[in-house]
Assembly symmetry: C2
Homo-oligomer: 487 residues x 2
Amino acid sequence: MPKPTPLSGFPELLPAQRVVEREVVAALSRVFELHGFANIETRVVEPLDVLAKGGEIDKEIYVLQRLQAGPDQTAADATLGMHFDLTVPFSRYVLENAGHLEFPFRRFQVQPAWRGERPQEGRYRQFTQADIDIVGRDELGFHHDVEVVRVMVEALGALPLPPLTFCVNNRKLIQGFYRGLGIEDVTTAIRVIDKLDKLPADVVAAQLVEQAGATAEQAQRCLELATIRVADTSFVERVRALGVTDELLETGLAELAAVVEGCADLVSDRVSVEVDLRIARGLDYYTGTVLEIFMAGYERLKSVGGGGRYDALASDGRTTYPGVGVSFGVSRTLLPLMADGVLAGSRPVPSAVLVALTDEESRPGAQRVATAMRARGIACEVAPTAAKFGKQIRFAERRGIPYVWFLPRPAAADTRDPDGADPAAEPIEPTHEVKDIRSGEQVAADPATWTPPTEDLRARVVGLETLAGARSSTTGAHASTNDTETP
Amino acid sequence: MPKPTPLSGFPELLPAQRVVEREVVAALSRVFELHGFANIETRVVEPLDVLAKGGEIDKEIYVLQRLQAGPDQTAADATLGMHFDLTVPFSRYVLENAGHLEFPFRRFQVQPAWRGERPQEGRYRQFTQADIDIVGRDELGFHHDVEVVRVMVEALGALPLPPLTFCVNNRKLIQGFYRGLGIEDVTTAIRVIDKLDKLPADVVAAQLVEQAGATAEQAQRCLELATIRVADTSFVERVRALGVTDELLETGLAELAAVVEGCADLVSDRVSVEVDLRIARGLDYYTGTVLEIFMAGYERLKSVGGGGRYDALASDGRTTYPGVGVSFGVSRTLLPLMADGVLAGSRPVPSAVLVALTDEESRPGAQRVATAMRARGIACEVAPTAAKFGKQIRFAERRGIPYVWFLPRPAAADTRDPDGADPAAEPIEPTHEVKDIRSGEQVAADPATWTPPTEDLRARVVGLETLAGARSSTTGAHASTNDTETP
């Protein structure tokens, strides 16, 4: 096979980058589980009638065909498409398994999805998402809106990402305001206002008049509403000052205030929660809380996550399943950060220790040392060949393995005078030794008890500041390992 | 949407079953990492010319098509297929990224693969595999054959599965034996012998004569070789007793003996390693060690894993990458075991504790209790509504949550005489209490220090014996929770 080239839109990670993705997913999963969210995975395919609803997304759906239709080819084969998000398969899963689930059902799901769209930074044809949702049967208390936002704030706030902002709004607030204002086509008005990040305000105002049947005065008030952006509950008074009264508006104001207040204790340098009355989210199924997540310095990615409340996530005609959830774009966030060097894996291998070989005969002894360390949770590998020690150390260095272990040198014992007659000869006790190849420090060590410092135990995610520090110290290590030919 | 029905060949797991799959994958990953294997994932699609090589598998390949070809449709879109194993994409990944990898490169990969084959027990259209491989550049020491088998023996031996047998052979041994015997078409002979588990011995012998150009005498000796099955190195003498001499045969005997001896210390009640000279594995690319893994009581699944040595896993014409690896069928093994009730998840939710609500006003206090426990790694959730305590306890029971937490009852304080004048009244200190809903035992507890027993902390895998025990104790819990309306 000639050297393959990457496929546009289907990014793959090198081992050290994969450390970042795995650790981020593990950290998110830990928080989700502490809050009682159960993990599920759905098959990657859905019947086309579940996926294709006549919307914009349809033309991006990948459909499965068998390469050679044989006698095993079933009609079902021809009507399967790959899911383009995790919400559609999840709602199908809830309907299909409702009899086996307890409601409210909290689940998290971390899987790839596929869209045949034009690849660009943050937009891929295969990309991984991490979703949390809470779904009720027939009813779902509003407090779950606060809960699900809190959980995602807590989970993302624990990651070494640039500062994130959760921009929150409420569909009832917008709809109630428009209705109270007297706008006839509220749905269209929401869709038009949603273009405010792409179009100038006067164009949006004109479209409100043309498409949603608003007067110029009404359009102006819609824009005033959409410009309100605050980090506390002061938005309530500012909205009331616009002079619109409506019952649904009041409910929306109260719900949105509850979300902001409910998250206040989690706000930090890393994550803030702001009311942004411009956020509408185009998708028709949102009915209350809506939110989008933005990352400082990465506004060009648009949102890195989002979600909200849907009073009818799924329905089989008899029973309706309301839900509220937040989705985080794992690939969309991590790939640009890794490309920019903001995040990296500390090393491409799990091994903390390379056990060096004195000669090929020392392999069984080296394996016993490795086994003793593994029994205590220390990842290690034995050198592939009994090359010169300097070569073995450079092998470890290229792999980012911080420690090299040396077995006792049997030759050392032979240099002793068997009668002990030479008083000048120091009695040499053969011992194991371990070298930190970054500092060059080498000390005697016992394979049954020696443990590396916690920060060296596992490959881990290093963020921007840590990366800068690590770079200079690695440079130092490179310079200092030239004189370490022998242990 | 009407209630959806499952798609044949695309199994999905309920939350408690997913606990089993996740814990098994986590346990395997831990062992792989302790041995220095780095995790990677590959995109799920490959160019068709990488996948389709004119073999039997071709007709099972799923090809991607865009639902509606738009201006974004590229030529590449039309030529992508979904991978049917993890070896083909891994060898492509090695070629593509060779400049960024350090060799020997140890990797593990746990991902689904897709085959459009007829679904049956243990055979699915989407199924998850866990693969480990070690790949060298130009050369790869034989000791890695021993290493990779040892790692998989250790990893699978730690799982609560029925007893497993690793049946090991060596292609050099078979090829050398056939060559020394004077059989002309060695490749065909291997392919014919591989049918011994499907066809009677005399039919195989006849095919050796007809298809591989063997004499009846040669065919007989091939069958004699194939019937040798021992758990130690005694096979060496038994093969030599067949009177065939060949250099390649000697190499194969020595390598196979090294694998069996090298794994001897890991053999247990749960995993054994046996020499089975019938194992050939049809795939052409194996060149040395070959193995298949069988599970006691599940012989109908055929092998649940397998692998071996391939001296040219990948090649770009200039550089060749030899490899050795073992693949374990996660779905093929776990789905039948779960269907049979041999394995199950201990509960469908991560939560160890449900914090009960006295009334809706107690929710903030309940959340503080939950936060205090989560800070100490205890997964918990707050009751969705302030229903009667009995209903809240049954809610926990249905979800398999073992503990229910009760906040101090403010009403209790009110019953005390403010002057302490009533000597008969016990001074009541309002305290938190926690109930084990299986035993009914309820004790005072401090949210800052109380911890459940380790076995209750996380949802975990329970095996056959444990399951039987849990069933009877759960029945007891059901009976005893009827009289727990109030804490």
